[in-house]
């Protein structure tokens, strides 16, 4: 998937595309809960898989000991995974395209 395609998919309104705009808010929220959880975890898995074993341990220690230290994480990721933003966007776009596959 190229960058334009990724941006296009990110810009799509999921519920509108699926014709689910008028479903109950709590169901809508439940779908987002799931999608958010899956996507974030997917990004983490991709990021971790891209790191060396030593760096994986370093990152996991940060996560375990100081999970709210956003600055430390940001610095680590910027340094070790320079393409993290592309990686994250691609993961969301891939997943969204999977959910949108049912639309013809």
């Amino acid at each position: 998937m190229n960058k334009d395609e990724i941006e296009k998919i990110l810009g799509m309104d999921l519920f509108k595309e699926l014709n689910l705009e008028d479903i109950e808010p709590e169901i809508k929220q439940s779908i987002l809960d799931d999608a958010g959880y899956v996507v974030t975890r997917g990004i983490w898995i991709k990021m971790m898989e891209g790191l060396s074993e030593e760096k994986q341990i370093e990152l996991s220690k940060m996560l375990e000991n100081d999970p709210e230290n956003v600055e430390a994480f940001t610095n680590f990721i910027k340094k070790e995974i320079p393409n993290y933003e592309d990686l994250a966007k691609e993961e969301v776009a891939n997943y969204k395209s999977l959910l949108l596959a049912q639309v013809k």
Partner: protein
Amino acid sequence: MEKPKEIEIISSHTDVKESDKKEGIDMYGKKPLGEEEGGYVPRKTAEEIRQEISELKKSLKSTNYVGDKESIEKEIIRLESELKNSPNTKLKTASELAMEGKIAWDKGNKTEKKETKESTEAEINKIKDEIEKRNKRLAELDEEDEKLKKELEKGGYDKDQIENIKNLLAKRKNETEPTTPIEQNIAGKNENKEGKEKYSREELLNAAEIFCKFNRAGYYKNPEGAKVAEEEALKKLKAEHSEREIEAAVKVSGKRNQLSNLKDELKRIEKEHKTAENDPYADSSIVSAKYKQQIQDIKDKILLIDNDYNPLLKELGVSNIDNQLKNLEKYENDADYNKKVQNARLFNLSILQTEKLRYQDAQVATNSAINPKAWDKIKNFFKRGVESKAFQGYAKMGRFTRTALNAAIVGGGTAILWPSAIAAGLGVTSFLAYKTVKGLVGGTFGFGLSKKIFQPMVRGSYGHDEKLTTQDQQGEAVKSAEMSNLEQLAKDKENSEKRAETLEKIFEENIKLCDKYKDRIDKNKKLFKRNNFIIGTLIPGVLGGMGASVLTDWVAGPQVLGILPHHGGGAIKETIPDNHPKGNVTPGESPDLKGEHVLPEVIVTPKTGGSMFDEETLKMATVGKRGIEGVVRDQLEAHPAKFGFNGDINDKLAIHKWSGTKADLIAIDNNYKGGGTETWVKDMGEPGLKGNPAYPIDIDANGKITIHEYFDGKPSGTGGLNSPYEYEHASPTSQRYISALDNTPDMSENTLSLAQENMNQSLHGLVHENLTELSGNIPDYATVLGTTTDKVHSALLDLENTKDIVGNISKLNPEQINLLSKILELQPKLTPDTQAFKNALDTITNSQN
């Protein structure tokens, strides 16, 4: 056949007779294995070769003769080469295999291991040949049968001769029946035009699980119960899903399982590596290189599986929606057609999200086997529970961060804070928090927790009045100053900071309460789920008719970004179906019935008969202030020893704790709970024996606690869900969208650590030994434990069938705990693993007593 190079090398320096060479016999008098297939397996083990090298190296140091040195060095090189080429030591990368043509690469970078495919095909062909032979034999026998039948028709045989011929015919019929499951499947494939039988039972069950027809992690009372659920699932799968869907689901689950199985391969590699590392004769550089190679191969395999998985999942989604929409075509003109289509789409989203979650669990588990130090922490971070680190960090987050990812998924065009949101895993934290907040208002933990959390809050707000019904109390709560403030806060767009602050205070309070009730929640999570009715009853009352989702939106904040439509102050969504009568008496702590309505449409036609319970018991068992489970609990507490309480009879708190769990289990056992539903009783008017159902309990001949049904003080003659005063309650939200987070067990349950698996293995070993040993002595064991033989037997069987005993320690019933304790106690010596487990069991037993 041209000999492989390795054989030539060996032959060149050994004394092998010419005649033996012709026969292919080596200097050790052995014929090389596998030569006839063109392969070559070294006649020495890698271990032996290493030992030889080590000895040669020693002699190299001690010899002073140059000639000897040279020949020893040559021999070492030769042996090292042999070791390198040994199938036990040399492993090839996926790309090397591809070069050799063992893996096929196609345009989409999809691969298939030819070796596996070929061996599978060979196996299938072998079976097909066998079936063909059988069919041929069948034809021959048919011919002979015809002859025999004609002989019979001719007559002239006595009774015994006729009987013999008939027996012969029957025997021949049996001879031609396919015997193995694979043969039966393949035979079935020949007969079944739909071709659904081409998959094994296991594959079909995997497919059924994907379509929410079957839950492997579900609670089944016994193996028979699980079997019934499996049969039902397979039936539904074939009836409701197309062949294309089933094929897609089988492929998706197959690919996922392929990934999961790498975990086992990794364990084997790890074990091998440790053995090699401890081998004093092993060359550490070779050991290390081999290990690295193997790990790299696993990583290659992960990539290849990953590459294949997404297109397969997409095909699953497309095939499913196609079939659903096709099935809906006949309703095109119906008024609720659009709603049906929506439901189809929601179901589609649900199965895709749930399946992806399962796949990720497999990804994390496999990576965790490669690098446990790092991935075990990740695993814990993503644990789907209130105790996770991610969850605990929630309250300290900014709203914008929490919602950034949501915005990206929905496509609201909001700027994405990738670095910070992803860096700290905050995105997931917000979703966990969302989930939990939803749980607090009835989504996940349901009735019990909501009551425990929200009722004190409500009471704290305005003071509890015993004379009022819960409904009235809620009404009072809505009018209270605190709630008005909350409502104002919610509506106050300008003061969003203060609103967030207030809600976070509530949220923090709820976390504390969650912690307090965590054990209970963990123990009865499944049962709480079944009680999920609180949305639309308690919470709308508390929040003055704004609906449960308002609270979740406020806390996590998408409303602030305008992702979801505003619905604050809207109408209450009544979740109890319209066709159910109002004024329900719920299980557990039900509201006082004073002032509730008597329903004219309730027609009670109980059967009557003589009573076997005294009036006092029946009064206690009558539904009124309490629901079915509540009255069962009252009876348990009145006679704890009679119904199996083993602790201190004077410890009321312990008895109360015990009765809660016990009553749940009794309700399930007697079909008043289960499968996502629960039996509720309609409001029958004035409390008391007259005009109300009663549910007295007693112990039957097999030691099982049975719930009886009475009405008007007499046996009603009904049971289960069919009484006119009962109805089946189900959570309506589950009918439209089943959340992936609710639909899958926490990953900690299916990604066990090595230590946990070892511990489970030890325990299973002990259980299995005892099951075998005790098969003839169960009565004695029951006497020792002070229970019935049935309970001992079923406890042992259940334990044997519980994959993760360690992880399910809190779910073990008293018989299982006693049994395990006894088994461990009887062991002459415990391993550290089993000792640790015993300590945990002792803690549970002490807390129960």
